[in-house]
Amino acid sequence: MKYHAIVRGQEHTVEIAPQEGKYRVVIDGKELLVDAVHLKGFAVSLLSSARSVRCDIEPGKDGQLSVLVGETVHPLELLDERRLRLRKASGKFSMEGPQRVDAPMPGKIVRVLVKAGDEVAEGQGLVVVEAMKMENELKSPKAGKVTELHAVEGAAVESGAKLVVVA
């Protein structure tokens, strides 16, 4: 199987095939022979040469994976051909086009700092969300105009809820 991976904004290719009870993994042409054993809770114990690590895999939104290797988390994306095309088409790579500002965590909207139609600067505060006794100001990712405003003061929001769109 061949996957495309995005690590720190760079694209890499990962080919994988079972081989003699292990996995042959070729990353950008470099070959590893990896012995993998499943552990509980979406984790694997890997042996690659003598190196021994536990890797915990945590799937996020949009095909994002967080992989804990030893003590450090590596965020990455793993896509097959089809998903890679979709991913590229979605334009998420750039700040071109309208940008959504979502609630980064479940909480309560304590202040809305803009109105629909307002012109905003990059980094300008849009909405203040409170969770765990702390207020967090969400800022505009770009200069532009507030084209959608879904945030309502006093309302509870779930993580990922669309609050503002700046175009």
């Binding site: 690590v7 990962v14 994988i16 990353i27 499943h38 915990d56 945590e58 804990l68 793993l78 965590m105």
Partner: protein
């Protein structure tokens, strides 16, 4: 005292319940609707709902808490820290309901609870406070104020009379800068608190936040149990605490301890209390800040270095018992070094954004010298309504260097899946050279902020760890893809069987 209601949640409720169990005392938990499935509920023998998620309608609702105690026949209430722990009205309501409040008498709480009153009490008891004006600078009083400033000596601080949090606060190092700083401070104070009044305090240079644990019984005895260095703070919130402090000599410790005990005795204090001091990093002069009339979050480091159980002492003293130790016993028993890290559900990489949610898996550190105080477990929900601290990790060793290495190792073993926590940030703090040296002040985290941000890997080439991460991801994805292609029969197993199968998949060859 046969049954104690624990008027708190999270790790401190679990911690108090553990000591009660060891003492053969039954426990009652209280919970809000957001906490029905919380760990502290099942760590107690009984549990009573006290209201909806918002604290003021549940954990802070005195009537509900006292009703829960009555309903279950509890004869005492342990308030933990936060919530109702420093509320004299609640302590009185307990007494009125015939319940023992495990803490100081309400009078002592009041005398230490109000800042200006506490400062006055401290001065009476001969406890040093930061020299400064007792009243704000009146209109047209600039000239007198400048005289006062010269009298106590520069550097000085200008502080807003009406509020805190750093707003309306200005450091003035030289008399020539007084006027402009005063104008700025007034403006800031006016805008932040709608009250532009400002007063002068002597500036403490390289300030350390160091506190003394005191304990007093109902028989008039009081002792100190050593200090805690709490200068690792982010926005006035403690992050890492240790004991002993690298800058506290045995003489300074004895002197601060004596003063703290005097402060406690001055208000006829009973139980566990903490006197917070600001210590000047250059002169080693110390100044009373305030007294916390309850158990502190960071009490475990004191327990590790004294070998005591402070909650047991609290209960025994509330029962009317005498302090089990004299001050000499403390000196004989203090040993080694302990460091505690607070684990927060927050994302340091996203400006410490809170990260409530479901903990899919929790792996705690273990082994020599490791102590976990955790309010959650695998599967726990971290609600968005309360403090983001989900637990504490404390380590003990004979030397500071070993204790820090141990905490660093233990933080590496600590894995919280499903939400984001600050464990990497905490490890980063332990790696700071300034922290390693031991003589750091409250500015440490602000100065180190850049070095504490997650380090972006340099260069386009993948590191060895990134290669392994990709290999693990590919193996996982390959299996997901194969599973989707597998016949549905494989998917009809119960989750139980599935869990077993997954873990057994390639156990042995």
């Amino acid at each position: 005292m046969n049954k104690i209601l624990i008027a708190n949640r999270g790790e401190i409720a679990v911690r108090v319940a553990r000591t009660c169990r060891e003492m053969g005392i039954r426990t009652v938990a209280i919970f809000s609707d957001a906490d029905r499935a919380a760990l502290h509920v099942r760590c107690c023998d009984e549990a009573v709902r006290v209201g909806p998620p918002a604290s003021r309608e549940s954990y802070l609702a005195m009537d509900n808490v006292i009703a829960a105690a009555r309903q279950t026949g509890a004869d005492a209430i342990h308030p933990g820290y936060g919530f109702l722990s420093e509320n004299a009205t609640f302590a009185r309501a307990c007494a009125k309901a015939g319940l023992v409040f495990i803490g100081p008498p309400p009078e002592a709480m009041e005398e230490m609870g109000e800042k200006t009153r506490a400062r006055r009490k401290a001065i009476e008891a001969g406890v040093p406070v930061v020299p400064g004006q007792k009243e704000p600078i009146p209109e047209g009083g600039e000239a007198k104020a400048k005289e006062f400033a010269l009298g106590i000596g520069y550097p000085i601080m200008l502080k807003a009379a009406a509020g805190g949090g750093g707003k309306g606060m200005r450091l003035v190092e030289d008399p020539k800068d007084f006027d402009s700083a005063y104008a700025t401070a007034q403006r800031e104070a006016l805008s932040a608190f709608n009250d532009g009044r400002v007063y002068i305090e002597k500036a403490v240079s390289r300030p350390h936040h160091i506190e003394i644990q005191v304990f007093a019984d109902t028989h008039g005895d009081a002792i100190w149990l050593g200090e805690r260095e709490c200068s690792v703070q982010r926005r006035h919130q403690k992050v890492i605490e240790e004991t002993p402090s690298a800058i506290v000599t045995p003489q300074l410790r004895a002197e601060m301890g004596r003063v703290a005990v005097n402060a406690a005795k001055a208000v006829r204090y009973v139980g566990a209390g903490t006197c917070e001091f600001l210590v000047d990093g250059h002169t080693r002069n110390f100044y009373f800040l305030e007294m916390n009339t309850r158990l502190q979050v960071e009490h475990p480091v004191t327990e590790l270095c004294t070998g005591l159980d402070l909650v047991r002492w609290q209960i025994e003293i509330a029962r009317g018992g005498r302090l089990p130790w004299t001050q000499e016993d403390v000196l004989k028993n203090l040993r080694g070094h302990a460091v505690e890290a607070r684990i927060y559900a927050e994302d340091p990489a996203r400006n410490f954004l809170p990260s409530p949610g479901t903990i899919l898996e929790l792996r705690l550190a273990d082994g020599p010298g490791v102590r976990n105080d955790c309010g959650v477990e695998s599967g726990s929900e971290v609600p968005r309504y309360y403090d983001p601290m989900i637990g504490k990790l404390a380590c003990f060793a004979q030397t500071r260097e070993e204790a820090i290495a141990r905490l660093h190792r233990a933080l590496g073993e600590t894995v919280v899946k499903g939400i984001t926590t600050n464990t990497s940030y905490l490890r980063g703090i332990l790696e700071l050279e300034e922290f390693r040296k031991g003589d750091y002040d409250t500015g440490l985290l602000a100065r180190g902020a850049d070095r504490l941000l997650p380090k972006a890997q340099e260069g386009a080439a993948l590191t060895e760890d990134e290669e392994l991460a990709l290999a693990a991801a590919a193996i996982w994805q390959l299996e997901q893809d194969q599973k989707l292609a597998a016949p549905p029969v494989a998917q009809e197993q119960s989750a139980w069987a599935r869990a077993g199968r997954l873990s057994a998949l390639r156990r042995s060859r």
